[in-house]
């Protein structure tokens, strides 16, 4: 019951948002539905919901982690939207598409039938397209086109991978196993046809990796994150990446359960390191804040996939990184959005003109580059530990170097934005409370996770990492 409600409530909310008129009522509607969704997620934490639809919908630890991340991030984005919609004109369907995204993301998190998961990913792709196109000018049109073409191809390849997985299961008539359901895939993993399973893994990795933004399929990211409204970019960087990571994680689960871990690791390493390298290369000299953050997102999804491939403690690091990435990216994009909203295209001196947002941007800088005491430091450290300990010391070394380069690149741009000379005679601008509260909450959460991870969360992450074939530290 709860599981279908998690999907249906935002969907109904989307329909309802379309019915109402324009304006600030949308903001309130968004916050209400988001709060209701978060409440349902909280109930799911306390009382584990029963599987539905013959096991097609179920909530395991990994799914719950992704669901929680998406729900929290969405609530923050919804509160931000209240302030945003007061400043910017938005079309009627803006709130509808946002809620449609939430519905599709919930579907991805709770579905244990891999084809249903695919439908959810497809839904997120389609729900985000109109949101990216929000400003309706040449640049956002170009960004939307690139996003659509590349994402659609990725999703199509992921569908082919899903079909390959079904073929790997072979003829299931007598065994009583259900096709493409995660549990049955795991229990029958050893009987899966290895060639088809390998093909499925590669296609699912490339397909969902396109949605995740792994290099070399990342080319849509800078354009899309650069042109989309900041809150949409925040949702994508935190929510969409988590959903796409879930897709890859499920594929990895099945492949490792079938004993093909030695086959699965090299592609994960390659994509992870390549993403880090690409991010490092393009982050230097990047002046546009949102594009800069897009490359930072490429870096972080590279780390996610790297941790997944390393196994052991690395899997725990990946799941922890998932949470931290969503918090930090949400914080940064919303703060960057404030920069765009209030100060326009001012270069420099933002700490004087918009001190609250500027301060949040500063905190975000440290959070996203993995500096202590923020949570990301812990997760990156865990992944590096896994690399060092599992016999891949050179991966750890390369990663460390690239992370340092990325730190320099991001820091230069953001610090210049904050402390640089700027326009002379610029006054302090008034900052709406709605636009500050959300990011501030995310910053606080990032800090808390860096100091002490709350018990229940640690428990959940440990269970999730065990499901991924790893161990908790």
């Amino acid at each position: 019951m709860l599981l279908t409600a998690l999907i249906l409530v935002p969907a109904l909310g989307a329909a309802g948002a379309y019915g109402g008129g324009r304006g600030t009522r949308h903001g309130v509607w968004l916050v209400s539905v988001a709060a209701l969704h978060l409440l349902m997620v909280a109930i799911a934490w306390v009382a584990e919901p029963a599987p539905m639809l013959d096991g097609w919908l179920a909530l395991d630890s990994l799914g719950l982690a992704v669901l929680s991340v998406v729900s929290v991030l969405f609530l923050v984005v919804a509160t931000y939207a209240v302030g945003y919609l007061r400043r910017e004109r938005a079309r009627r369907a803006f709130a509808s598409w946002l809620l449609a995204f939430l519905s599709a993301a919930s579907l991805v998190a709770v579905s244990h039938h891999l084809a249903l998961l695919w439908v959810g990913m497809e839904g997120t792709t389609l729900a985000l397209a109109p949101l990216i196109f929000h400003r309706r000018d040449r640049r956002s049109l170009e960004a939307t086109w690139k996003y659509l073409v590349i994402s659609s191809v990725g999703i199509a390849l992921a569908l082919l991978g899903t079909f390959f997985l079904a073929t790997a299961q072979g003829d299931l008539g007598s065994s009583g196993l259900r096709p493409l359901v995660l549990e049955d895939l795991l229990t029958g993993a050893v009987q899966l046809h290895p060639a088809w399973l390998k093909a499925a893994f590669i296609f699912l990795l490339v397909g969902y990796g396109t949605k995740l933004g792994l290099a070399p399929m990342h080319t849509w990211k800078p354009d899309t994150y650069g042109e989309a409204p900041a809150l949409v970019a925040a949702l994508m960087a935190g929510g969409l990446t988590s959903c796409a990571f879930l897709g890859i994680a499920r594929a990895t689960q099945v492949t490792m359960a079938a004993g093909l871990a030695p086959f699965a690791r090299p592609p994960l390493f390659v994509f992870g390191l390549l993403s880090l390298a690409v991010a490092a290369a393009f982050v230097i000299g990047q002046n546009d804040v949102k594009r800069l953050l897009a490359y930072s997102s490429v870096e972080h999804v590279g780390l996610l996939v790297l941790g997944l491939g390393l196994g052991g403690v690395g899997a725990y690091g990946s799941v922890l990184h998932l949470v931290n990435n969503a918090l930090a990216k949400g914080l940064l994009f919303l703060a960057a959005g404030n920069v765009a909203l209030t100060a326009g295209s001012e270069r420099g001196g933002l700490l004087r003109t918009i001190p609250a947002s500027g301060f949040l941007l500063l905190i975000g800088l440290f959070a996203v580059t993995g500096s202590p005491p923020f949570g990301m430091f812990l997760s990156e450290l865990t992944i590096l530990r896994a690399a060092w300990g599992n016999g891949h010391p050179w991966i750890a070394a390369v990663t460390l170097v690239l992370l340092a380069v990325i730190f320099i690149g991001i820091a230069v741009t953001i610090l210049e934005l904050l402390y640089g000379p700027g326009r002379s005679g610029a006054r302090r601008e008034r900052e709406s409370w709605w636009l500050i509260a959300g990011p501030a909450a995310l910053a606080l959460a990032a800090l808390v996770l860096g100091v002490a991870i709350p018990g229940p969360l640690q428990d959940l992450l440990a269970r999730a990492s065990t499901a991924l074939g790893g161990i908790a530290p």
């Binding site: 039938h113 084809a115 249903l116 695919w118 439908v119 497809e122 389609l126 397209a129 109109p130 196109f133 309706r136 000018d137 040449r138 640049r139 049109l141 170009e142 960004a143 939307t144 086109w145 690139k146 659509l148 073409v149 659609s152 191809v153 999703i155 199509a156 569908l159 082919l160 079909f163 079904a166 073929t167 299961q169 072979g170 003829d171 299931l172 096709p179 493409l180 046809h193 060639a195 088809w196 093909a199 800078p222 354009d223 650069g226 042109e227 393009f282 990047q286 594009r291």
Partner: protein, 214 residues
């Protein structure tokens, strides 16, 4: 019936080559419409007449409706609305495209002989499916016009659909609905964006979409 399925699959491959080698935009769209029609008939040809279920008939009818009628009609409407120049302007020449198409079919056939598909299926099925996927990606990569890229995407989806037919009896309804939905909505949205592209840029050449870069 096996011969009919083989014939249909062969015609699907030939229409793929037609799309790769033609110079005219409308022929590309007709080619993908013909492919859609052939794919609609394929589930009927894969099973002997006594075994046809309501599911098979519904799938065939739905496929023909969406792939052979609705989507090509929509693309033709987009061409008219955008008043596009009717020539395909490829970045890779026509002869090279056709040669690459043959390479794609050769690779797909080589893979098809190595990967056995469970159940009774003509070996041409897997070869055709992978060929269409590769040829669709080829069209997407080598054609500059946005509408042709949509046609390439449709070919990619056709290839995936053909592969999906091998598991029609094992994985139920949901998947077919998912695939058809994917194409329909994806192409629909793409079509709208294409329309906007033409309005903004006065051309449908996606090679002109180069403002955003590092």
């Amino acid at each position: 019936m096996a011969h009919l399925a083989d014939l249909l699959l062969l015609l699907v491959l030939l229409s793929g080559f037609l799309i790769l080698g033609t110079t005219r935009l409308t022929t590309c769209i007709r080619g993908v419409a013909v492919q859609g029609g052939l794919l609609g008939l394929l589930p009927l040809a894969l099973q002997p007449v006594p075994q046809w279920t309501a599911h098979t008939l519904g799938l065939a009818a739905g496929t023909i409706l969406v792939k052979a009628i609705a989507l090509p009609w929509f693309l033709t409407w987009a061409i008219r609305e955008a008043a596009v120049r009717r020539e395909v302007e490829p970045r890779v020449g026509y002869i090279a495209s056709m040669a690459l198409g043959i390479v794609a079919v050769a690779v797909a056939s080589a893979v098809a002989t190595r990967l056995p598909v469970p159940g009774e299926h003509p070996i041409l099925l897997l070869a055709t499916s992978l060929s269409c996927v590769i040829m669709g990606l080829l069209v997407l990569a080598t054609r500059a016009k946005a509408l042709i890229q949509v046609v390439g995407y449709l070919m990619l989806e056709n290839g995936i659909y053909v592969f999906g037919l091998t598991s029609v009896d094992r994985v139920p309804f949901l998947v077919e609905i998912g695939v058809l939905l994917d194409i329909f909505v994806g192409v629909f949205i793409m079509g709208i964006v294409v329309f906007h592209i033409n309005r903004e840029f006065d051309s449908l050449d996606s090679a002109r979409l180069t403002e955003l870069k590092d």
